[in-house]
Structure formats: structure tokens, C-alpha cells
């Protein structure tokens, strides 16, 4: 039984601890609200001699990820952190990192994107990057932040896909909670050194990321090599297969640290629930309180707290939702012109299954709008009412706001 090392940490410091314990070697980050304390903590650790890493005070987020890319190709373990506009600024590089199959770990402190300016929480920033080929994991609390950053390196370096660990700005980043901080010696046992698939050695020269044609091309030895499409296929294949690694790493983490993460999502009372609330990040905690309220009202409510958004756990979801007749999806994001991203993914996952549940989408919490458990419970009740009235499906999501 491991001795607990409880520290009172806010989310940002938890993320910094995760990076420190993972013995990251190159850190490149640009400050942005509400992420700045992560970079400040890390520079403090480096300057104080508590973390043996190169800290590069880059001049933009795009450069931050470019530094991590090259350092990772050299063979160093790299880390960056950002939010909102910073993540948007590095969009091009997100594609580049995934396409080069580099195990960079990025922490995204979820914050709304302008216009207009808003520095508070929602998940539009990381959701907007869901197509870039990164594994995306969301934390519900600060314990999950430090644990997920450490696991992120093990996952990334096993499958050669970059990992984004996301957590809600202010709600988690600036809120202190008790966190059991893993011991360095245990993390060292858990996390082997990074073995790059890239070589930068003059005695063995290789050139990375040249223009790649649409069609396969033969190399100098006569071997048929990939076209662009085949390389991209391999990335998708890696993400599909990474589910297995994510579960395995989560299980190994549990065995060593006592907290298992062998799951793509958190299940609360799903065994007998026919009403399921789906929420991601800290909202999943509010959702459990809402489920309590609904249970008191006599409903069999449960919560599916989504943890891994990419790769999206379609088959696992079908199994978990098999008893549901109403699924209420709360999104702190929206794909404009359509609906909340999580809702679309859920509908896609259930297509072709025998599950005949009604699915309702509510947009909540944008720009840091407070979301109360009572509001979530009321949204569920509203959905039940509309079901009774025979409304099977709504084309666009409903919003919990003042319009």
C-alpha cells in the first residue's frame, strides 16, 4: 500500500508536477491566461535546479510547438502548455506534430476563444482541434491532471501519437484540491526513457517531412514507399489502435499507484440507468450531483463522464449506453452551424447499434458561464417532457443561457 503524498495543488501546478515527474527534457511554452502559472512553475523548477530541462521562453505559441517538434525529432521528451488563442495559433503545428508521429505532450487549459475576448472556461479551444490527429484526454479534477500527464508520455511514446491533456480553466486550473502526488522513484519505474523513431545523425543522414506525393514512390533501393494518403492512413490506424494502449497504460498506472485509468470514460450508476447524462471534464462532477437530484425525483439517472475524446470510444459507448432511453449531452462547445461536438460523436457511435435512445443536446457554460447541477437536472426534466410530447429529435441544440 503506497504512502499517500497529499499536497494542496491547483490544476496548473498539478500539470507542472506531472511534467516534472515525467522528467521532461525540453519545455517551450508561451504564457496565456489561464495557463501562465504552468510555465512559471516549470521555469521555477528549472532555475531552482529541481528539473533538469531546457526551458525555452519562446516568442509565440506557434514557435512553442515548433521547438517541441524539432527537440522531439532529436530525441528529447518535450512538453508545452497553452489555452484558447494560443492553441489556435499553433494549429498548423498540431497537424505537423501528428503527421511526424512525435510523442509531444501538450496541456490545454480550456478557455473560450474570441471574438469577443473572454478569458474564462469552455472547451471550444481543444474541441476545435479534434481533427488534427492528437489523442485528447480530459481531466475531471486535479488528481486526474497529474495522473494523465504522466500516462500521456507512456501512451504517446508507445504509439507515436501526440497527446493533449485538457482541463477546465479556472474551475480546475486555479482551484486548489488535495492531490496525491506520485513519488519520483515510482514514476521512473512506470515511465521508460523515450525511444525516438527519428534519427538525426550525420553518419546516418535522414531528411524529415519532405514534400510527399499523392502516389507511392520508389526509393533509391527500389522499395515502394508511401504516398501522402498512406502516411495519413497510418496515423488514423495508430489512433484507432491506441485505445488498447490507453487502457493498458491506465491499468498499469492503477497497479502501481492505486488509481486505475483503464477506461475511456467514467461511469456513474450506468448499470441501472435509463437516463444518461454525458459531460466532459469538470462538468462530469456537476453531472453526478444532478444525477443525485434526479434519482431523488425517482428517475434512474446515471452519468457518463467522457475522458478520452480522441480516439472516440464508439464501441465502448455502445456497450455502456445499451440500457438508455434518453441521453442528454451537455457540451461546453459548439460546432457552429451544427451542434455540440460530443453530441455528434455520440450519435455517430450509436448509429447501426440497436440502441433506440432519444438524444438531446444542450450547450452550456460558454465563456465561463456558471453551470449549476440544478440546471443540468432541469434540462433533463425538460427533455423528458419533450419526449412525452412526442418530439423525437431536435435539429439543433438547446442553449442554457439568457436569450
Amino acid at each position: 500500500m503506497k504512502k499517500a503524498n497529499i499536497q494542496i495543488l491547483d490544476g496548473n501546478h498539478a500539470a507542472a508536477q506531472g511534467a516534472k515527474l515525467s522528467r521532461v527534457q525540453v519545455i517551450a511554452a508561451y504564457p496565456i491566461t489561464p495557463q501562465s502559472p504552468v510555465t512559471e512553475k516549470l521555469s521555477e523548477l528549472v532555475e531552482g535546479g529541481n528539473l533538469d530541462a531546457e526551458y525555452i521562453a519562446v516568442e509565440s505559441e506557434h514557435s512553442a510547438l515548433a521547438v517541441c517538434t524539432s527537440a522531439s525529432i532529436v530525441g528529447a521528451r518535450t512538453f508545452t502548455a497553452t489555452s484558447s488563442h494560443g492553441l489556435a495559433y499553433m494549429h498548423e503545428m498540431l497537424h505537423w506534430v501528428a503527421g511526424t508521429r512525435l510523442p509531444v505532450v501538450l496541456v490545454c487549459v480550456n478557455r473560450a476563444i474570441g471574438a469577443p475576448w473572454n478569458v474564462q472556461n469552455d472547451q471550444q479551444d481543444s474541441i476545435s482541434q479534434r481533427d488534427t490527429g492528437w489523442i485528447q484526454i480530459y481531466a475531471r479534477n486535479n488528481q486526474e491532471i497529474v495522473d494523465s500527464v504522466i500516462q500521456a508520455y507512456k501512451i504517446a511514446e508507445a504509439v507515436y501519437v501526440p497527446v493533449m491533456v485538457c482541463y477546465d480553466g479556472y474551475i480546475l486550473s486555479h482551484t486548489e484540491m488535495p492531490v496525491d502526488v506520485p513519488a519520483q522513484v515510482d514514476v521512473d519505474r512506470f515511465l521508460p526513457p523515450y525511444k525516438p523513431h527519428t534519427i538525426l545523425d550525420p553518419s546516418h543522414p535522414r531528411n524529415y517531412n519532405l514534400v510527399t506525393l499523392a502516389n507511392p514512390r520508389v526509393n533509391a533501393e527500389g522499395v515502394l514507399c508511401h504516398g501522402y494518403m498512406e502516411l495519413r492512413y497510418l496515423l488514423q490506424e495508430a489512433l484507432q489502435n491506441s485505445k488498447e494502449t490507453i487502457m493498458k497504460v491506465g491499468r498499469e498506472f492503477g497497479e502501481l499507484f492505486g488509481r486505475s485509468y483503464a477506461r475511456m470514460f467514467w461511469e456513474d450508476r450506468l448499470d441501472d440507468a435509463d437516463i444518461v447524462i454525458v459531460a466532459t471534464g469538470s462538468l462530469a462532477m456537476e453531472a453526478m450531483v444532478a444525477a443525485d437530484m434526479l434519482r431523488k425525483e425517482g428517475h434512474k439517472a446515471g452519468v457518463l463522464g467522457l475522458r478520452v475524446f480522441r480516439p472516440f470510444p464508439k464501441s465502448e459507448l455502445v456497450r455502456a449506453l445499451r440500457k438508455s432511453r434518453l441521453i442528454v449531452v451537455f457540451d461546453k462547445n459548439i460546432s457552429y452551424g451544427s451542434e455540440g461536438a460530443t453530441c455528434s460523436e455520440i450519435k455517430s457511435a450509436l448509429y447501426g447499434s440497436s440502441i433506440n435512445a432519444a438524444i438531446r443536446n444542450f450547450i452550456v457554460g460558454l465563456g465561463g458561464r456558471d453551470v449549476k447541477a440544478r440546471e443540468l437536472a432541469e434540462a433533463v426534466n425538460k427533455s423528458l417532457l419533450s419526449l412525452k410530447e412526442g418530439i423525437l429529435n431536435k435539429e439543433y441544440p438547446e442553449w442554457i443561457c439568457y436569450i
Binding site: A66, A76, H226
Partner: protein, 287 residues
């Protein structure tokens, strides 16, 4: 650099790169953004260079180099030079932020900007280095209405230990400067003048002649600034001694990209060249 690559016949960049890599004796990691150099480097899975190389998106050359330096340092790997090499597009325009940041952080690398005065890889669109009056894809009729920015002066303002200008058409001078830069620590910036036959519209056999004419008219000035000490080198140094400066008109006349240039613009260019040359002479005397 291996023969049989995709660069145009008579390409000055090709010549420059040959000598740059020789001066660095192959103990180098190169990082390159979108540019004509990417074309030289070839297409997956075959490359025309015998050195390790990392291609990086257009805006990020300086940052990519910073990453290589940081990674090598973190892993304790010594003895390798990190070389960032980008065109004027990737240096003056889209890449200036990353370059400036890398220089400000005193990143230990060599940055070479090869200047063909336009976005030549994509068919000659105007860049921050395209001169006044030059026709380009995006200044097709009137020619560029503004003169080029002075990237070497900008880099000098970063107070880095070595700033130099060179030319592909004066390869021995270029070779010496790269060799000198190799031995210096900190951010080293070398600007290399690389005439472009299809972009500037002159016959590809004339590349060296154009480059030499550029120096003789002081359109291109060869100098180096080592820890703040300025000196002219090679053909610019002899030009200063002999004083036989040729008019800029002679340089302009042999390139069809200037076919629509006005007399007023030629006069403006001559004034600009004169002022810069006088300043160089003054600095050379004072050093």
C-alpha cells in the same frame, strides 16, 4: 549536396548550398522551411542531401532551430552545428518573428538567409526583399512600389556576435564566412545574395556575371560584423579601395523583371545604393 536535384539550371542557391555544406564539413543538422531549398531537398522518400535535415512549416525556421539546439543540449550531444537556412520569404516576412525570438534568446545556431528577392519557389510573388520597380507575380504591371527592407540591419540590432553578407557568386568569400561562423558561439546570421534566372529573368548561364555586377554596383555589398566590428570583404573591399563603382542602371538593365521600371525609380534606387555604400565606407574606415 548531391547532383541530379530539382533546382533550375544555373541556380545560385544550388551553388551557395554546395559551399555552405562543405564549410560545415557535414557535421550539421539542417532545418529548412518551405522554400526553393525544399525543392532541392527533393521528395519523399529520396533526398538530395547527405546531411540530417528537418523540414518545418514556413513561419517556424528560427523556432525549429531553437528546438534542435535545445534537444541536442538536453541529450548532451556535442559537436554538431545547427543550421537554419531559409529564403527571403521565410526570413524577412513570415519567418521574421521566429528568427527574432531565436536571436534574442542567443540561440547557438547559424541562420542563413538566401535572398532571391521574391517568393521564387511558388513562381515569384513579391516579398519584403523584392526591390522597388521589380515585376513579380503579385506586382505584375506596375512593379513593386516599395523598396526592400534591410534584414541585416535588423539582425544587427539583435546584438548577435556575427552578422555577415555574402554572395553565391563569390563562393570563396561565402565559404570563409561560413567557416568563421562555425567556430563562433551564439546566434550567427549570414545573408547570401542568390540571383535567380527565371525570377529575375536573365539567361541561366549569366548567374555569376549578374552576381559580380551586383557587387560592382554596390547593389550587393559583402561585409561582416564580428562583435560589432565592421569590415568589407572580397570584391566589395577591392571596390572600396579602387573606387570604380558602376551605376545601378547597368545591373537593372540586364534583368527583365525591371522592364517596366521608371526613371524616377531608378534614380531612387541609385540614391539608396549610394547612401548605403557611403555608410559602409564610413563604417569600414572607422573600424
Amino acid at each position: 549536396m548531391l547532383p541530379g536535384n530539382r533546382l533550375c539550371p544555373g541556380c545560385a542557391l544550388s551553388l551557395a548550398y554546395r559551399h555552405i555544406l562543405k564549410a560545415l564539413e557535414g557535421q550539421v543538422i539542417v532545418t529548412v522551411p518551405a522554400s526553393c531549398l525544399t525543392v532541392l531537398h527533393g521528395m519523399y522518400p529520396v533526398t538530395s542531401v547527405n546531411v540530417p535535415c528537418v523540414n518545418t512549416p514556413f513561419a517556424s525556421t528560427g523556432a525549429s532551430a531553437s528546438g534542435l539546439v535545445a534537444g541536442l543540449k538536453a541529450l548532451g550531444k556535442k559537436g554538431l552545428t545547427v543550421l537554419a537556412i531559409a529564403g527571403d520569404g521565410g526570413t524577412h516576412d513570415i519567418g521574421i518573428q521566429a528568427l527574432s525570438g531565436a536571436a534574442e534568446r542567443q540561440t547557438d545556431f547559424i541562420y542563413i538567409c538566401y535572398d532571391n528577392e521574391g517568393y521564387m519557389n511558388t513562381g515569384n510573388q513579391r516579398s519584403g526583399s523584392t526591390p522597388l520597380g521589380a515585376i513579380s507575380g503579385t506586382t505584375p504591371i506596375l512593379g513593386k512600389q516599395q523598396n526592400q527592407k534591410d534584414i541585416t540591419a535588423i539582425m544587427e540590432a539583435h546584438h548577435i556576435p556575427y552578422v555577415a553578407t555574402a554572395s553565391a557568386c563569390h563562393p570563396l568569400d561565402l565559404y570563409e564566412k561560413v567557416k568563421k561562423a562555425k567556430a563562433i558561439k551564439g546566434t550567427r546570421f549570414i545573408y547570401v545574395f542568390t540571383p535567380c534566372p527565371p525570377g529575375w529573368r536573365f539567361p541561366f548561364s549569366d548567374t555569376i556575371k549578374i552576381g559580380e555586377l551586383a557587387v560592382q554596383t554596390a547593389w550587393s555589398v559583402l561585409y561582416e560584423i564580428e562583435n560589432g566590428v565592421f569590415r568589407l570583404t572580397s570584391a566589395s573591399e577591392s571596390l572600396a579601395r579602387k573606387g570604380n563603382l558602376r551605376p545601378v542602371r547597368e545591373f537593372i538593365a540586364v534583368q527583365e523583371r525591371f522592364k517596366n521600371i521608371t526613371e524616377k525609380q531608378i534614380s531612387e534606387l541609385q540614391d539608396w545604393v549610394n547612401a548605403r555604400w557611403q555608410l559602409c565606407l564610413k563604417r569600414a574606415t572607422n573600424s
